[in-house]
Amino acid sequence: MRWISPASLSRRGMLNMNRRNVDYIARYNDRSAYPLVDNKLKTKLVAEEYDVATPALRQVVSQQHQISHFRERVAGLNGFAIKPAKGSGGKGIMVITRREDDSFIKASGAAVSLRHLERHLSNILAGLYSLGGSPDVAIVEDLIQCSSTLTDYSFQGVPDIRIIVFRGYPVMAMLRLATRASDGKANLHQGAIGVGIDIATGRSLNAVQFNRPVKMHPDTGLALEHIQIEDWHTMLVMASRCYEATGLGYMGADLVLDQHDGPTLLELNARPGLAIQMANGKGLLPRLKYIESLKRTHLTPEARVEYAMSVFSHAGNLSAPRRTTKRQPAFA
């Protein structure tokens, strides 16, 4: 067993679970805004209003009897994703990439029958994947065609980019790559790889799997050191807009890079996890405190992104936040 001392963690500015819950989630996230992010259907609608692209919605299954029509309504679709609207942590998401005769092929390559999908839908409706087991609806979305630059890095599954947005400023980001261990899911605690991304440049920093630093992808064998996210600025602006859309002060925005549509918002999370710090090799606290110490915040998403890109460079040092605020004009 290896341990790290609390003093050493606090010197690195590591945000911990209790502090995140009390000082950030409870303080900056209004309960009434939770349904907006806990329900993917609502997220989609509100994101659309703020010009944030989301995958095209194909079908909403909200009643048990609608399941029998599921087959006809997906007849025209080759690949699609079934998601519980109120699911959390990627639970209950089923990605179908193509069809073969009567069976549907999952992202992992496994073939499943129509019956299996119908049972999955019925489970979603009964609330198996929703918070607290409340009844839920299932949404069927277009499959994301991930940009080819990133697909290669991921073992099946779609790589997504998690950006922590604090009071509208993107403060930390990571790229999540599915692995064989994570069953094609981009979920860190299931074994996906987290690659820290420099806010200033969109370049990869460190990478971790199961909280351990790794240098290359265990399944694809590709080095994880020199990944450059395309359209990085757009992506940050989209994440930042979600602040206006939801009013949540502390959230995680999960985006993907679609081959045709560019940056696309997958979901928002009002309780983003802490593993992003491990992927970046840096604690969140200094950056969060830096934003908290701003006397006046910037009004537009674009301005906030400019500002964040200028101050949160990985190489840069945040040692004197107050002086920097004075020198920088509050409105860019």
Binding site: V22, A126, M278, K282
Partner: protein, 503 residues
């Protein structure tokens, strides 16, 4: 940032109030800090239920009068709207409730505290009682003669005569005469009749077996004979002479236990609770008769008291859960499921409890594996699981009992619905995150449950939580304080240790 001072002042107030009231009650009422310095007191409650039919009601209940082996510490009657008085009618002590008009179901309580004291013997009667005159019809008269002659042959004193008679009556292979006497009659009544017929004054007394936290107990008959100086007690089942220590003779020398005028369907049942009262308080209560203090739970009906005893342990378990999750960072399946399991452990004791819990959950996971193929809706799947869990519990009980383990039956103390949900959650966890996560969370839950059990089963914990309910203010304060803890969890010190490599 908001000021935290009001919060900390509130915490300090809570702790101060808790400690203050507890100290005050310790010194004023003499409730001891430790459970050791106490004497047992039996609180017995008679509950009369009947249905009033709209007329004036008079309920008369026989009350214990100097029962042998006990003395009465306090007695009181609780019954809304009724007048209550205790009357003494030729040595028959009765409580009488009266009301001008009552309708519908009525419940009356009488409760008394008894201190066990082997020295207490009833006063011998002023006048030796006369045997009742008994008339038998033929052929019973001849049979009675025969039986008495048979018993007299083997006995020399009224006591030995009584024992022989009980043996004859209770014999597994009764002869013609006893069979004739018993036909259609109650054993004990026949015994009393026979003894009186033999010129030995005899009567039926009724007593209760004292067992902690029992409810709805009936009275059991005991045989009493007069040997010339004292009334002697016999167990009419075994013929054993003398009164067992745990039997309280409730009604002696009475014509009827309960009379109800103006009502019907009357039932009397007894509940009892073993309390511990310090010797100091006993002295105080015996002199003042009301010294139990208004801030204590002793005034409540006994059924509620036994419930509170369990309920008041829960905050302790909750505190353990908060500590383990907030400070240590152990993952459990279901936030407070461990506390409920710990409460079940309190009833089953730890070893058998753990074994049955793990057995039921493991079997449940196997069955659940089959259920997941059936394509059921969530609600009906959980309902099916509940039924399966009940089946499994029954099976475990029966198999355990047949194999001679009474512990198998303790499975009934587990909350079935919680078990079903635990199985469901574990099963989902298994499907989604793999067996590793199931063992982590299941093990975490069990660890927390065992720790909560250990905390709650400490004798001192049970004593303090029940006798000093105000100490819960301190538990509350501690939980509130832990809710403010924003430092690292113990588990995070391990989780984040790879950060050392980024230097």
């Amino acid at each position: 940032m908001k000021s935290r001072y009001p919060f900390y002042i509130a915490i300090a107030l809570l702790i101060f109030t808790g400690v203050g009231i507890a100290t005050l009650r310790h010194f004023e009422l003499g409730i001891p800090w430790l459970s050791g310095e106490e004497r047992p007191v039996w609180l017995v409650e008679a509950r009369v239920d009947f249905r009033a039919n709209g007329d004036p009601v008079l309920v008369s209940l026989n009350l214990p009068d100097d029962p042998p082996g006990f003395h009465v510490l306090s007695e009181q009657a609780a019954s809304p709207g009724y007048g209550f008085s205790i009357v003494n009618d030729k040595g028959d002590r009765r409580g009488e409730w009266s009301i001008r008009q009552a309708n519908g179901p009525q419940t009356l309580y009488y409760k008394a505290q008894f201190i066990p004291d082997p020295d207490v013997q009833p006063h011998p009667p002023e006048q030796p009682p006369e045997p009742d005159t008994v008339y038998w019809e033929e052929p019973q008269a001849t049979a009675a003669h025969e039986v008495l002659a048979l018993a007299a042959e083997k006995s020399s004193t009224p006591e030995s005569m009584t024992r022989e008679l009980i043996k004859l009556i209770r014999s597994s292979d009764p002869n013609q005469n006893t069979a004739l006497l018993l036909a259609g009659n109650d054993d004990v009544d026949v015994l009393v009749k026979l003894l009186n017929y033999a010129d030995i004054p005899a009567r039926v007394s009724e007593g209760i077996m004292l067992e902690d936290a029992r409810r709805r107990q009936p009275l059991r008959p005991f045989l009493e004979i007069f040997d010339g100086d004292h009334w002697l007690t016999f167990n009419p089942q075994t013929g054993e002479q003398g009164l067992p220590e745990n039997v309280l003779l409730w009604s002696r020398n009475t014509t009827s236990l309960l009379d109800v005028m103006g009502g019907n369907q009357s039932v009397v049942s007894f509940a009892m609770l073993r309390q511990t009262v310090p010797a100091l308080q006993l002295a105080r209560a015996e002199s003042m008769k009301n010294g139990l203090g208004f801030l204590s739970l002793y005034q409540l009906p006994i059924e509620e008291q036994s419930m509170f005893r369990m309920l008041l342990l829960l905050p302790l378990g909750a505190m353990v859960v908060v500590f383990m999750r907030v400070i240590v960072g152990i993952r459990t399946s279901g936030t407070f499921m461990p506390v409920l399991i710990a409460v079940a452990f309190l009833q089953t004791s730890l070893g058998p409890g753990l074994v049955t819990f793990i057995t039921v959950v493991a079997l449940g996971l196997l069955l659940r594996g089959y259920l997941s193929n059936l394509n059921l809706l969530l609600v009906s799947r959980i309902a099916t699981l509940i039924i399966l869990v009940i089946f499994m519990s029954t099976a475990i009980s029966i198999v355990g009992y047949q194999m001679g383990f009474n512990t198998g039956m303790t499975v009934t103390f587990f909350p079935m619905v919680i078990l079903a949900w635990t199985i469901e959650r574990m099963s989902i966890l298994w499907e989604e995150e793999g067996p590793h996560e199931v063992f982590v969370q299941g093990g975490g839950s069990l660890l927390v449950a065992v720790l909560a059990y250990l905390a709650m089963s400490l004798p001192i914990a049970g004593h303090l939580t029940f006798n000093f309910p105000e100490l819960h203010l301190i538990i509350l304060a501690v939980i509130l304080l832990m809710g403010q803890y924003t430092g690292y969890k113990l588990s995070e010190l391990r989780r984040f240790h790879p950060m050392q490599e980024y230097d």
